[in-house]
């Protein structure tokens, strides 16, 4: 049995008295693709941000690669984050930098940075992998939504993470571009053994990428299963997601 790379136990998070996460328990195994679906505003992004340490939970336990986030100093959290990539909903490319600089940015700032030549080569390879080498000199403003997400994925991959957290990877994209992103997610696992937590509304994306699906509802995560299992659920609100 594969070991857990991420483990969340009894996670609570509220904002100004409004409970967003109400005792969440999840685990992600090595090379597993876990999909989290739920209504808008149900706290899916908050959960992802809590896992990466951008939000501090009110209570609960988050373990990443066997390390409890609560026990880590900020420097240790930063170094742990390098093993966990995060694909933001809108890509979050740095506006003031072109594609090459966006990708080189994290590499240049590692404790033991690679040489200039090695960084250039790593950037080239990462862009080749997402099929956008021709956009190397473009500014983010010149890219379409799908291209931005692919470049953002390349920027995530360049640090060679072992887990990637995808926040709505296909939202707002046309079906063709969505399919390209989905293929990239699957390729990441096939070629690099990268585990993933994918937060999405897109049932097509969930069906193709997920080994396991969790439903987040009113801050709780009580429903779990494969796409086909959940589609045949006897609970109407669960089936509603899959119709």
């Amino acid at each position: 049995m594969k070991e857990n790379v991420i483990e969340v136990k009894d996670l609570y998070k509220s904002f100004k008295g409004k409970v967003v996460l109400d005792g969440i328990n999840i685990s992600l195994k090595k090379e597993e693709n876990l999909c989290i679906i739920g209504k808008s505003g149900s706290g899916k992004s908050v959960l992802l941000r809590s896992i990466i340490g951008l939000f501090e939970p009110d209570s609960g336990f988050i373990s990443v690669f066997g390390k409890n986030l609560d026990d880590l100093h900020e420097d240790e959290v930063i170094s742990l984050r390098k093993k966990v990539g995060y694909l933001f909903q809108e890509g979050a490319l740095y506006d003031s930098m072109n594609v090459e600089e966006n990708l080189a940015f994290p590499l240049k700032r590692q404790p033991h940075p690679k040489s200039h030549k090695e960084i250039k080569e790593a950037v080239r390879l990462a862009l080749q992998r997402v099929g956008l080498l021709s956009s190397i000199n473009k500014m983010p403003q010149e890219l379409s939504g799908g291209m931005k997400k692919r470049i953002a994925l390349a920027r995530t991959l360049i640090l060679e993470p072992e887990v990637i957290l995808y926040d709505e990877p296909t939202t707002g994209l046309d079906p063709v571009t969505s399919k390209e992103i989905i293929e990239l997610i699957l390729e990441m696992r096939a070629t690099n053994g990268i585990s993933a937590i994918i937060v999405t509304h897109d049932m097509y994306c969930a069906r193709l990428t997920a080994d396991r699906i969790l439903l987040l509802n009113n801050g709780k995560m009580d429903v779990e299963g494969s796409f086909e299992e959940l589609k045949r659920s006897d609970q109407e609100w669960v089936r509603a997601f899959f119709e």
Partner: protein
């Protein structure tokens, strides 16, 4: 682990409803935010490339506005002073009056306000839009301290640049004044310079330069602070830019008043 003060997108209405106007809370947050600068500025990596980029962006790109405004202020001051001074037969004192005014007071304050308007709003809007589009979080996740990359470099760049802009602005105002004096009268450059600096002493220059350092630091720090606190969405970016200008301008006036008091005390007791 990072403490989050942000809220999720889900709670935007709640967030905007809550007043952020609590003066002491904001002051406390600004103090904590500023103290991080002194904790981080000494430690590598130093981000020199970004520092020089910001010196160019914040300093060099303000030159046109500073040049135009400073020249016009010197020019107009001299023209406005002329009729009154002529009444007393004291036209020769115009260069000295203008020099004292622009070097001691108008140069630093005017340049500070120009920079608060142009540079401060730019920094507030830039960092604010980075915040609302998750670029700051993206930096943090990739193992880079965004405070160090964004705030330390901008604050240092502005603090270094401001004194040069103040000296430049004072020089331009004197040139403007010289041109105006020669419209109404005839005065050589040498005579103008002699007259301008006749009653000026070293201690007239020093407070201006010290003030300029503080103004530069304040503008950049306040603007970064409001940018970092930007709410979600474009409204938040606008608010951040606006608050950057308003608050840094107010602090400039406050610091100027404090500097005038200290300068007066020093001159009364030690000179």
């Amino acid at each position: 682990m990072k403490k989050d003060t942000e809220q999720p997108e889900e709670n935007i209405p709640e967030k905007s409803e809550k007043s952020k106007g609590n003066f002491f809370r904001t002051l406390g947050e600004l103090t904590v935010f500023t103290s991080r600068f002194f904790a981080l500025v000494w430690h590598p990596p130093y981000e020199l490339d970004e520092l020089f980029t910001q010196i160019f962006r914040l300093g060099y790109k303000s030159l046109f506005l500073v040049t135009t405004t400073a020249f016009i202020i010197g020019f107009v001051m001299s023209l406005q002073l002329y009729p009154s001074m002529k009444t007393f037969g004291a036209e020769d004192l115009i260069p000295n009056m203008v020099a004292i005014a622009v070097i001691r007071e108008i140069g630093p304050v005017l340049t500070g306000l120009i920079c608060a308007g142009k540079t401060g709003s730019g920094i507030g809007a830039e960092i604010g839009s980075m915040k609302v589009t998750d670029q700051i979080d993206a930096m943090s996740i990739s193992g880079v301290d965004p405070y160090k990359y964004l705030v330390v470099t901008r604050v240092l760049a502005m603090t270094i640049t401001m004194p040069f802009l103040v000296i430049y602005s004072a020089g331009l105002s004197l040139i403007g004044s010289y041109v105006a004096v020669n419209i109404t009268d005839d005065m050589s450059v040498t005579m103008y310079i002699n007259s301008a600096f006749d009653y000026m002493y070293f201690y007239d220059f020093v407070p201006s330069i010290i003030k300029a350092f503080f103004f530069g630091f304040t503008i950049a720090m306040v603007s970064c602070f409001y940018g970092y606190r930007a709410d979600y969405g474009t409204v938040g970016v606008g608010k951040a830019a606006n608050a950057s200008v308003v608050i840094s301008s107010l602090i400039i006036f406050f610091l100027d008043m404090l500097a005038a008091q200290l300068s007066h005390y020093y001159q009364s007791n030690f000179v």
